[in-house]
């Protein structure tokens, strides 16, 4: 047995309060499993934001449509990595495609993921960018030309009829994509919500709560990215777009908070067998990450800030800054939400008689550095995507500007 692992378990055992089953000293789903729902939430949220523009015709959001799609794509590439890295046998992960257990919620992961990546995101992006890709190919040379030829799958037809078909296809895929995005993240919620052995997770509301927190996190991420990329590109921010983003963020956050409160009140009112240990958990080990970070800093604070910025006559510069700050706090809050669900749900014994501890390592396969790496990776991918498939209006091929990021 690996000495570092042994030392970690010894330390965990020291911090146990009350009684835990002897096998419960080891906490099994680490920070990597926190990152997984965090990232899929961003994917689903960004996609749903994109679909607001396409399906629900919220024209104000147009400047963020393509950015949101590419954001979703960048993050969806990374989504399975933390799971893969967390497996005891990563090299056997493919078995989930070979012999998926039809009774298992987790077995569906591969299929939900493949469906969402292949059928929804890649297809929608392909149709959305096809016309541009064809033209970018015509304008570039060498390797770049080859690349665009490859990803456009050799497509050449940019006749108005073909482009019109692209638009119809994008619309149809988006309509298909909304339930798919709901499926992708609601499904992640189901993985937790269906564990009847764990009263902290086991809740029919779990998929819905996951979904709305996903929408919140996706919108706020795109807001942050739109803000930052526009500033870096030294362009002007579209205030209407930011207002719309902030308004949607505000309403989604209200729904998210209401659902969380409903869940909380429901548990408190039903007051089942597990209520005492869960109360102890929340007031001791989870107090900072739940009450302070998730609720106060991550939800109530941003709500007030957004409300203040949206509904008072604040100058636009301050408004934008307020939106940006609120979005940052929301990201911290949502990460904290994922932490509280995944880690918090494992900090109490299933005997309901004691609490255990989780010590985050710095290095190692499941350490903080690996986690940070996985959180940074989607931004690197996004950077590359933005270079290759610039989503900005000024990079559109109807504009004759040369292609430079």
């Amino acid at each position: 047995m690996n000495p570092a692992h042994k030392a970690q378990l010894e330390a965990a055992l020291q911090q146990v309060t009350g009684f835990i089953y002897p096998n419960e000293a080891e906490l099994h789903w680490s920070i990597l499993v926190v990152i997984y729902p965090y990232i899929t939430g961003l994917v689903a949220g960004a996609f749903i934001l994109a679909s607001l523009e396409k399906v629900f015709k919220v024209k104000d959001l147009q400047p963020t449509y393509r950015l949101a799609l590419l954001t979703a794509l960048a993050f969806v590439f990374v989504a399975p990595l933390p799971l893969q890295a967390h497996l005891g046998h990563p090299e056997r992960a493919f078995e989930i495609f070979l012999t998926p257990n039809p009774a298992s919620a987790m077995a569906m992961f591969g299929f939900v993921y493949a469906w969402y990546l292949m059928v929804v995101l890649l297809l929608e992006i392909w149709f959305e960018f096809r016309e541009d890709m064809v033209r970018w190919r015509q304008q570039s040379r060498g390797l770049k030309k080859l690349f665009y030829w490859l990803i456009s799958l050799g497509s050449r037809d940019v006749s108005p009829e073909a482009v019109a078909f692209d638009h119809k296809a994008v619309y149809a895929i988006t309509i298909l994509g909304i339930p798919s995005a709901f499926l992708l993240h609601g499904y992640v919620g189901f993985i937790f919500g269906s564990v009847k052995a764990n009263p902290f997770w086991s809740s029919v509301l779990m998929p819905i709560v996951f979904l709305f927190s996903a929408i919140v996190s996706g919108i706020s991420l795109v807001l942050i990215l739109y803000y930052v990329t526009t500033l870096i590109r030294r362009k002007t921010l579209d205030q209407k777009c930011l207002n719309a983003l902030a308004a949607f963020l505000f309403y989604a956050l209200i729904i998210d908070l209401s659902l969380e409160l409903l869940d909380f009140i429901h548990r408190l009112y039903e007051s089942e067998e597990s209520i005492e240990i869960l109360a102890e958990l929340i007031f001791s080990k989870l107090f900072i990450s739940l009450a302070i970070v998730q609720i106060l800093l991550g939800t109530i604070g941003p709500l007030l800030l957004l409300a203040f910025a949206l509904f008072t006559g604040l100058p636009n510069e301050l408004k934008r800054l307020a939106f940006f700050i609120a979005a940052i706090f929301i990201q911290v809050g949502i990460f904290s939400t994922r932490w509280n669900v995944v880690i918090g749900g494992q900090l109490f014994s299933k005997s309901f008689r004691g609490l255990t501890a989780y010590k985050l390592e710095l290095g190692g396969q499941e350490g903080l550095l690996a986690a940070l790496g996985l959180l940074i990776l989607p931004f690197v991918i996004l950077y590359v995507l933005l270079k290759l498939l610039p989503p900005w209006d000024d990079a559109r091929t109807s504009d004759t500007k040369p292609l430079e990021g």
Partner: protein, 252 residues
């Protein structure tokens, strides 16, 4: 170990439990006898375990035997079976402990408070008829055999640990050497060879009774006829096949 072992064990049981001889008219056990000695037929068995709380002395011999028999890591974080000690004080406080799974027995109680009830509870995988761990395994690496035992396929388990999360009893762990799920197998290698599980073999007070669920006149059935039977966390609807007699309501 001779293959016709089961017959000998059965005959030994007959001697030990004279009332069983009266019931020999029932055809089930005779058929089982007839098949003994042939190759093991999983479909002819349906295993379960009885645990008599009132007999457990908390010596921890079962925990030790299990670790030796099944090559379970000796570190105090991995147990296929373990013993819990419950102390219910007169003021209503409930204290539970299981130092190192009870493998070295238990220290005397320090508290001076008046005790209402106190007892030991051996725990292990319940080999549920309706196992949540099997339900959640994404690849089919843990499964219920034809004879009703929940096993892990070490060569196929991907180590996702969903089964560990899904088990309400804390009966599973991740083996640090194989990085696959570990759990009680009812000593599958022993029972298919006609032996008893190591914990049952070694228990000095016969607090554990192993046997067939669907056959009459077995020690297990005798216990289940004559005792008040409880299972752990019945509300989970997992239908455990480890049956406890005189189980206290405080046990979770």
């Amino acid at each position: 170990m001779p293959k016709n072992y089961e017959r000998r064990e059965f005959l030994a049981d007959l001697v030990k439990f004279p009332c069983a001889t009266l019931l020999l008219g029932v055809s089930g056990p005779i058929k089982a006898l007839a098949s003994a000695g042939d190759e093991y037929q999983a479909s002819e068995h349906h295993y379960a375990m009885g645990v008599q709380i009132e007999k457990c002395i908390g010596c921890g011999k079962c925990v030790e035997a299990c670790k030796i028999e099944n090559d379970v890591p000796m570190e105090p974080y991995y147990f296929r079976t373990w013993i819990e000690r419950y102390i219910i004080y007169a003021d209503g406080e409930v204290s539970v402990d299981s130092p190192n799974g009870g493998i070295d027995g238990f220290p005397p109680i320090e508290s001076e408070k008046a005790i209402l009830r106190t007892f030991f509870v051996p725990k292990l995988c319940n080999h549920c008829e309706n196992p949540p761990c099997v339900q959640v395994c994404p690849v089919g690496a843990t499964f219920k055999t034809q004879d009703g035992v929940i096993l892990v396929d070490d060569d196929y388990c991907i180590g996702c640990r969903y089964c560990i999360q899904a088990c309400p009893y804390g009966a599973r762990f991740l083996d640090p050497r194989t990085h696959t799920a570990g759990k009680c197998t009812f000593c599958y290698h022993r029972i298919t060879d006609g032996l008893l599980p190591a914990c049952v073999e070694i228990c000095p007070t016969q607090a554990r009774i192993f046997g067939e669920l669907d056959k009459l006149s077995t020690p297990l059935n005798r216990m289940m006829r004559q005792s008040n039977i409880q299972v752990l966390k019945a509300h989970m609807n997992t239908e455990p096949k480890v049956f406890y007699s005189d189980l206290d309501g405080e046990v979770r």
